[in-house]
Symmetry: C2
Subunit: 204 residues, 2 copies
């Protein structure tokens, strides 16, 4: 591209594997590291190499971890009778930051999508179903995205576990988001908010 | 941050050494690489390590290169009697893309800034001045940024070489940018455009 240094050019090229990084930002990143932060760049290269080498999916919940079982699954203070099923690891990060859930997770790494050849096997649903059968699970919380694919995936999972006696299966509440102005909330959400409305008197 | 994997956490941290990358985008980059592009990530780690190890400043023009002298300085088809002085390597990339200049460069890697302790030594001006004296240079093009610091730096360089006989010293034209609407161009630029106005008849 610049015809100045093949190595600098390939580095600019390599940075474009990152999401949202095009030629211009890649060039800015490369020059920034070479010019002002070589130590930071060195440690990025080192840690990135290490992580890609040793980080894999937890054998239990499929979150990314460098151990065979992750720290959430090993944590004895967490409730191992609840499993929250999510589509991706970033969902786990978001839920953990809310401090609202203290159970275990199961990460699908995607959703059912026949057109992309993603079926139950790709989401390792066997592993989820065997956990539900073999461990003393009391509740499955289906927390897939509120999209068509997410809902379909949740529905498929529910269909496969609904016959297990005494297993509670829930999904996250749909409704008006915090700070959301009713005027700008879409029709579908308002519909959900109405059907899921709560009796204030009952809560007194 | 996520308490899930120390290695993933330090990788998210490490990505924040890049310009314009905060915790959220760093997390997105890390999960993207782990989930979808491990090969791309591996080669990024490898090339980044190599580049930081072996890319340094060209002994002649101070551009980044893995050789001791860069491909621009070694290219015999380029005019070695012209030196274009710029503040940063990204300026060289921009000028090269315009295909308008076929001479050599000198990269200052900054501008004079006494408040940050950046003087002539930090910009390696000695090297520039000795090139002007010892090589058969015919023209120095001062292409620093059109900012107060850039202009000051250009002026300082001009002061030090103006007494060399038969050396042409030029600076880039200031004026209305291509596609710029006069209504939205600032006062200073309009001033420059007027004082630098060109006689159309003379060009016939």
């Amino acid at each position: 591209m610049s015809n100045v240094s093949p190595l600098v050019d390939s580095l600019i090229e390599a940075f474009q594997c990152l999401p949202g990084v095009g030629p211009k930002s890649a060039q800015r990143m490369v020059l920034h590291l070479l010019e002002r932060n070589r130590t930071g760049g060195q440690s990025l290269a080192l840690i990135l190499g290490q992580a890609l080498e040793s980080v894999d999916k937890c054998s239990n919940c499929r979150i990314f971890t460098e151990s065979s079982t992750c720290q959430i699954c090993l944590n004895e203070k967490r409730n191992n009778k609840q499993i929250c099923v999510v589509e991706s690891v970033s969902d786990v990060f978001a839920i953990e930051q809310s401090n609202q859930f203290n159970g275990h997770y199961f990460i699908l790494h995607g959703h059912l999508s026949p057109i992309d050849d993603i079926g139950p096997d790709e989401l390792a649903l066997d592993k989820l179903f065997s956990r539900v059968k073999n461990e003393e699970i009391e509740e499955i919380i289906l927390a897939t995205n509120s999209s068509l694919e997410g809902e379909t995936t949740s529905h498929f999972i529910f269909d496969n576990i609904k016959d297990i006696p005494e297993l509670k299966v829930t999904k996250l509440a749909r409704g008006v988001p915090l700070g959301g102005e009713l005027e700008y909330v879409d029709r579908g959400t308002i519909m959900h908010a109405f059907t899921g409305r709560q009796d204030l008197r009952g809560k007194e």
